[in-house]
């Protein structure tokens, strides 16, 4: 990953988009945005540029150091600090699509977006020059919106986000490491993680399975990740499956992959009919992890013999009397490799001196033979499941076993 991504933090998303928008205004070369009286080359002088780079040029490398500098901002507010300190060099645009989701949804319309820096400015307790200039920039860009928004802004934003922020900064362990470069959505994380799954190992008979804990390692806010996964589940894009070894470990599979693999696996077998009926009727209708007896018999019209066929096919696993988990046929091998690999990678950290390892060093080592699914696959899972603590150091991310 490029180094700027290594420094990127989720809160930069708002800033990133804002700066690109500002760039687009200045790029229009002095064209007045609708309703603005004068738009001169204000952006250039207002934003403290470090390193000095004009707003119009799209350069990535100055942005690296500038974004890195934003990490040490004094407690005025993360978005605000980033707005102030991040230099005028705009970020590369491809990131925007990935970054839109969680941080930008409250300010999806452009006046709202332009309003954000003004709002953050308003409740800043220590007015600094660049901030005032920024607010005047805001008024230039969106003059029509100022007066009506003044009062409402005051009402809603005197409650101190700043108070919260000052404390949270002290905790300061929000790290940026190469594995966590992605501040984006769960969906992007899923696509990336699916690439790590070794398809060839199972001769393509298993759909690519990703674990929920791996998604947590890429999307730092767990609640947001959970909600996005739930949305994807409700839309029918993914299925969540209970992996037997740990009640907490959920495997995530794309529905399409699941369907094709299951059909291929049950081809020509006696239970093929029941499986096809299941895939056609139950899967689209019910997005849960488990199925109940009365649901299967009454709502979907399965007989007991058909349910037995499904269990034999590996599509259902018994959970309790009269209820079943959804399962992946042939997942036993995957679970065996996964459990052994997880223990082996944890063992690598455990055996090291002081029970800690730099992430880069761990990824650089040769994987023991037991690890069949790949080192980075397991490392994502360990970080997300909080089986190791991630500590940011000057030499990169350190993985340390927790004391408890």
């Amino acid at each position: 990953m490029t180094s700027w991504q290594a420094h990127q933090r989720p809160k930069d998303a708002k800033v990133v988009f804002l700066l690109s928008m500002m760039q687009s205004f200045s790029d229009s070369g002095g064209q007045t945005p609708p309703g603005a009286g004068e738009v001169c080359a204000l952006p250039r002088r207002l934003i403290p540029t470090w390193p000095p780079a004009p707003l119009n040029t799209a350069q990535e490398s100055p942005g690296v150091r500038a974004l890195g500098g934003s990490q040490s901002a004094v407690g005025v507010g993360p978005c605000l600090a980033d707005v102030v300190r991040v230099s005028a060099s705009p970020p590369p645009l491809p990131t925007l699509t990935g970054l839109r989701d969680d941080k930008l949804t409250p300010s999806s319309s452009s006046p709202g977006l332009g309003g954000t820096p003004g709002e953050t400015v308003r409740h800043c307790s220590a007015p600094e020059d660049p901030i005032f200039r920024f607010s005047s920039l805001h008024s230039y860009l969106f003059p029509g919106t100022i007066k009506s928004r003044d009062m409402s802004r005051k009402r809603h934003h005197l409650v101190p986000e700043t108070f919260g922020v000052k404390r949270r900064r002290k905790r300061g362990l929000v790290e940026s490491d190469p594995l966590r470069g992605e501040p984006g959505s769960a969906r992007a994380a899923l696509s990336e993680l699916m690439q790590l799954f070794p398809r060839g190992l199972f001769e393509d008979a298993l759909p690519p399975i990703v674990l929920r804990s791996q998604v947590y390692s890429l999307v730092p806010d767990r609640t947001v990740a959970d909600r996005q996964l739930k949305e994807l589940q409700e839309q029918g894009e993914i299925r969540i499956v209970q992996l037997g070894f740990d009640l907490d470990a959920h495997g995530i599979i794309f529905t399409e992959d699941y369907r094709t693999r299951v059909l291929k696996a049950c081809d020509g077998r006696p239970y093929a009919g029941a499986v096809q009926k299941f895939l056609a009727s139950v899967l689209p209708a019910c997005g849960d992890l488990s199925f109940q007896q009365d649901q299967m018999t009454q709502t979907f019209g399965f007989r007991d013999s058909e349910i037995t066929h499904l269990v034999n096919a590996g599509v259902l696993t018994v959970r309790d009397a009269g209820s079943w988990w959804l399962a992946v046929p042939g997942a036993g091998r995957f679970i065996k490799y996964f459990v052994k690999g997880r223990q082996a990678v944890l063992g690598m950290v455990r055996k090291s001196k002081y029970r800690e390892l730099l992430l880069s060093e761990l990824l650089g080592r040769r994987a023991p033979a037991v690890v069949r699914l790949g080192l980075s696959y397991h490392v994502h899972d360990l970080i997300g499941a909080q089986l190791v603590d991630c500590i940011s150091t000057t030499s990169g991310t350190l993985l340390r076993l927790p004391e408890t």
Binding site: K154, L158, R167, L289, R319, G322
Partner: protein, 396 residues
């Protein structure tokens, strides 16, 4: 801060907002303060703490040596250095002291004249505070893990008791005997809690991984069994619903009673909507929990975003309730922390642990502004070196 005050003065902001903002700021600044101490009386680990709801001045603590101590938290001396003294205690020499470890103490919700305590010696004792005598004793067949009395109810004085047996017993203080039994759990009941919003709603947590919400007026069984997967509600399946993947150790309603927090030995904490039993899927990450008995945690009250304080090994983890973000870990105890309580008038947190200490976490105020330099320099300067000329360049 000045912005808030002027906004409040001119009427732009609701006074409550300023109060909430300041409470939040104070909670975020909680730390150990060298000026505040709680007197050390207990000889064993401290299992439970409770602050009286009327004034927030007196605190009860129950220890694993069976001793119950009553502290006065108010700082009436003019100095900043203050030790919370024990007003009285029920020690080992008291004739009615509990024989084994005290698991739960609770003040009577409406005044400080009475408190209740339950212990591993299979009793629940009701004490008169002024005379320090037991007013009543309830005996059970199994050890008592937890009890709770409704903080808002005026229509009943039922105490819900969770024991090692699977039945929740409701003891009536007016009549002096057990009036109800709630059946439905399969293993020991580790925590019980009444709702702070409705008089008759009770939540119980058990080692069989289930949390049940009851209306005690209803004879036929529990209202809801919480399901962590938010599956479809159907009567036949209630038995398969689990709230956690391990024992459920602790229960706490938020102060408005609309949400319920549960912790379990699967190292998870979950937030539930208490009206329909839905898992809100807020993810707090790994909340380490190795306790074999109940874990007593608490929620802040009166802040703009509520915080939950959970004992996490030998530290206390602070999370925001509705977003699941971890704010900080309060480190200070030497051994496992068992209980914590929040004093909402001053935004202070008191925690008790197995190292026999109660620590007070006080909001750290701003550093005192140093005095003007003239006073310090004058004191440092030897009068022999002072000159009689004025230091101002402007005067002639």
């Amino acid at each position: 801060m000045l912005g808030f005050l002027s906004a409040r003065q001119t009427g732009l902001e609701d006074p409550l907002r300023l109060r909430r903002a300041e409470s939040t700021r104070r909670v975020l600044g909680l730390e150990l303060n060298k000026d505040r101490d709680v007197e050390r009386i207990h000889g064993g680990g401290i299992n439970t703490l409770d602050i009286e709801p009327v004034e927030g001045r007196y605190m009860l603590s129950g220890g694993s040596d069976g001793v119950i101590v009553l502290y006065d938290l108010e700082n009436s001396s003019k100095q900043s250095y203050y030790t919370c003294k024990a007003v009285c205690s029920i020690g080992r020499d008291h004739p009615d002291v509990h024989r084994y470890s005290v698991e739960t103490v609770q003040w009577y919700p409406h005044d400080t004249g009475m408190f209740t305590s339950s212990s591993f010696d299979k009793t629940l004792k009701v004490w008169d505070t002024n005379t320090l005598q037991t007013a009543d004793v309830f005996n059970f067949e199994e050890t008592v893990y937890s009890h709770h009395m409704s903080p808002v109810s005026t229509k009943h004085c039922l105490v819900a008791v969770g024991t090692r047996g699977p039945k929740v017993q409701l003891c009536d203080l007016k009549s002096g005997s057990c009036s109800h039994i709630l059946q439905g759990h399969r293993q020991e009941i580790l925590a019980v809690s009444w709702s702070p919003r409705y008089d008759y709603i009770l939540a119980t947590a058990s080692a069989d991984s289930r949390v049940k919400l009851w209306d005690v007026r209803r004879a036929s069984g529990c209202l809801i069994t919480l399901d962590q997967h938010n599956g479809k509600k159907s009567q036949a399946v209630e038995s398969a619903n689990t709230a956690h993947n391990g024992k459920v150790n602790g229960l706490c309603f938020t102060s408005d009673g609309l949400h319920l927090l549960t912790v379990g030995t699967d190292n998870r904490m979950r937030l539930w909507n208490s009206s329909n039993g839905e898992n809100t899927l807020v993810n707090y990450g790994k909340v380490c929990n190795n306790s074999k008995k109940g874990l007593k945690f608490t929620v802040s009250c009166g802040c703009s975003s509520e915080f939950v304080f959970v004992p996490y090994g030998s530290t206390i983890a602070v999370y925001t309730v509705y977003s699941g973000e971890q704010i900080t870990m309060l480190k200070g105890h030497y051994k496992t922390v068992d209980c914590c309580v929040f004093q909402s008038n001053f935004q202070e947190l008191y925690s008790g642990s197995r190292d026999c200490n109660i620590l007070a976490w006080v909001p750290s105020l701003y550093e005192p502004v140093p005095d003007d330099d003239e006073t310090t320099t004058k004191s440092q300067l030897n009068p022999a070196f002072e000159d009689a000329w004025s230091s101002s360049d402007e005067e002639g």
